[in-house]
């Protein structure tokens, strides 16, 4: 145990000794399992003829939906494209909780080098975010593959590309937790932080991403939105399927853009709130 590892271990201990992490994990699992189960049943039903294709009005982006080869990864990708809110919330709650419950005082007394504490929190949340990624995948891949298999569709679990997707999903969820930490230090008010997370991820960003596809110029900007970058990193999402022709980043570009959001927010928050007087 040295000066770097001790604060990291303390941050893990903070997360694991309150109830929030497993409540979020439980809700995440249920939510993703529901979506994966429903969609796998829908596509499975269409494929097996149990549901007539005429009964489905699939709107604009039908191209990807009929090519059955892409259906399992699409269902698996819901782990990140829907579940990413959960690591953001966990990161934001871990940070804003320190302000709200005034635990910054005992924290900074035990570790007076404040940058070290924020670094430790970021490291701990990367691991927790990855763990939430595993939980989300257990729902999307576990439940999704089971239902697809039930309809006689190959869940592609032997496919290397599927496992690539799984690995990139874990990575994306880890980086989203860093963004949560960054948001928490930028906006230390817990209520404001949660409102921003929910409003931005559930409403503002989807609208912006949709609107940005209207012209080439806005599309070139829109692909840098965090959700678009995350989808690019994972490599598959219902959103990119629903906006055919939309500009996308490559996988590694998406990952770097997403990480940049997290690190920039954390660094800015360090100066805005973390270094301030604790009164």
């Amino acid at each position: 145990m040295n000066l770097i590892l001790r604060p990291v271990a303390a941050e893990f201990s903070k997360i694991l000794t309150t109830r929030m992490w497993w409540i979020l994990a439980l809700v995440l699992f249920g939510y993703i399992a529901l979506i994966a189960c429903g969609l796998a049943a829908l596509f499975g039903g269409l494929d097996s003829g149990a549901i007539s294709p005429d009964a489905v009005n699939s709107g604009g982006g039908t191209a990807g939906l009929t090519g059955l080869g892409s259906i399992p990864p699409l269902i698996y990708s819901f782990a990140a494209s829907v579940g990413y809110v959960f690591p953001v919330l966990l990161g934001a709650l871990a940070t804003t909780g320190e302000f709200r419950h005034q635990t910054l005082t005992p924290t900074f007394l035990a570790t007076p080098k404040r940058g070290r504490v924020l670094g430790a929190k970021t490291v701990a949340l990367i691991v927790m975010g990855a763990a939430l990624g595993v939980v989300a995948l257990a729902a999307s891949v576990g439940i999704g593959a089971l239902v697809l298999g039930g309809f006689g569709i190959d869940p592609l679990l032997a496919d290397g590309e599927t496992w690539g997707l799984i690995g990139r999903t874990v990575l994306a969820m880890a980086v989203w937790a860093v963004i949560g930490v960054g948001l928490g230090v930028l906006v230390p008010s817990q209520v404001a932080s949660i409102v921003i997370v929910l409003a931005f991820t559930q409403f503002i960003e989807p609208l912006l991403r949709f609107a940005s596809t209207f012209t080439q110029i806005t599309a070139d900007i829109g692909k840098f939105l965090p959700g678009a970058a995350s989808d690019a990193l994972v490599g598959e999402s219902f959103f990119t399927l629903a906006s055919p022709g939309g500009a996308v980043l490559t996988s590694w570009q998406g990952g770097l853009v997403l990480l940049a959001y997290g690190l920039l927010a954390t660094a800015a928050g360090y100066f805005i709130s973390w270094k301030r007087d604790v009164t």
Binding site: A10, T17, H101, T103
Partner: protein
């Protein structure tokens, strides 16, 4: 046995915008003694202590432990133990987990958690969530946190607030025993009477400025001290005091004589053959001079 370090404030000043909360404070706190840091609410005590602990950045000046700033201490929790207020907890965490987080952060053996909880009398509430704690229990938990590293210096902000009489009695004995072991003990309070039984030295501030520092007895000088005396035969006592030429007034619990020495009054009564059932020095004198200091701002 950890050794106490000298706490030294040098010209420390804190301004919040236009408001000067602490103005050019300089004083030292010695090991082996309990030092009361006194002043009315809003005098700047908490801000001063937070500057000492590196939580608030001073506008100018320094505060050190044996010459080192808090953030430069190699093992802060093993050098300085601090309890600042009774609300630094996540309500959903148990007391043992709360303390465990910080033993992990500071590299202190986990066994200390049970030890300090036992010391402050919370052993049987160790696995209870802190959200259900009373104010007095939170005070004790804050104190437990300060003791984790068995530090040579204790800095406690209003530790007596919210304690029941039994707790107050306990903490007084506790502070004295810590100082007797050679530790530096700095305790803030807005009430002199709350700490006067346990402090050796006092630092008094008002409106962010130092108004007095010295041993507790130094408060006991200029403001006219008084002796309370009473007898089953009060008329005889009145006659004796009048004949001795002492000025006195009649109070609820006896006669209030305007002399500092109870022995002098006792001798007069003895010489006159008057039986006494009350003879003591008026203790409110300390509180009176404390109030005169923080209100008037005059030095003794």
């Amino acid at each position: 046995m950890p050794l106490g370090a000298v706490i030294e404030f040098t010209n420390i000043t804190k301004k919040f915008g236009q408001v000067t909360a602490v103005n050019d404070l300089s004083f030292t706190v010695e090991p082996g003694r309990v030092t009361g840091f006194l002043g009315p609410n809003g005098a700047g005590k908490t801000t001063t202590l937070r500057m000492l602990l590196g939580l608030v950045a001073p506008t100018s000046g320094t505060a050190t432990f044996g010459g080192l700033r808090y953030r430069d201490l190699a093992r802060p929790l093993n050098t300085v133990g601090a309890a600042l207020e009774a609300a630094n907890f996540h309500p959903g965490r148990t007391a043992a987990h709360h303390l465990g987080v910080y033993t992990t952060a500071a590299g202190i053996p986990r066994t200390r958690v049970a030890e300090v909880l036992h010391t402050v009398g919370l052993a049987e509430h160790a696995t209870q969530r802190v959200g259900g704690y009373s104010l007095g229990m939170r005070q004790r938990l804050g104190l437990a946190y300060s003791l984790l590293g068995d530090p040579g210096v204790l800095v406690l902000d209003e530790p007596i607030n919210g304690l029941d009489p039994e707790g107050i009695k306990w903490i007084r004995g506790f502070l004295s025993s810590m100082a007797a072991e050679g530790r530096t003990v700095l305790v803030s309070s807005h009430l002199l009477s709350e700490v006067q039984q346990s402090v050796d030295d006092v630092i008094i501030i008002a409106k962010g400025e130092l108004v007095h520092s010295g041993p507790l007895s130094s408060l006991d000088t200029d403001i006219a001290p008084q002796v309370i005396v009473d007898s089953p035969d009060r008329d005889a006592l009145v006659t004796a005091l009048t004949e001795a030429g002492l000025a006195f007034t009649s109070g609820r619990t006896g006669l209030i004589v305007a002399v500092p020495d109870p022995g002098q009054v006792g001798h007069i009564a003895f010489a006159a053959g008057v039986e006494l059932n009350v003879l003591h020095r008026q203790k409110a004198g300390l509180e009176d001079s404390f109030l005169a200091l923080v209100e008037g701002g005059d030095s003794l």
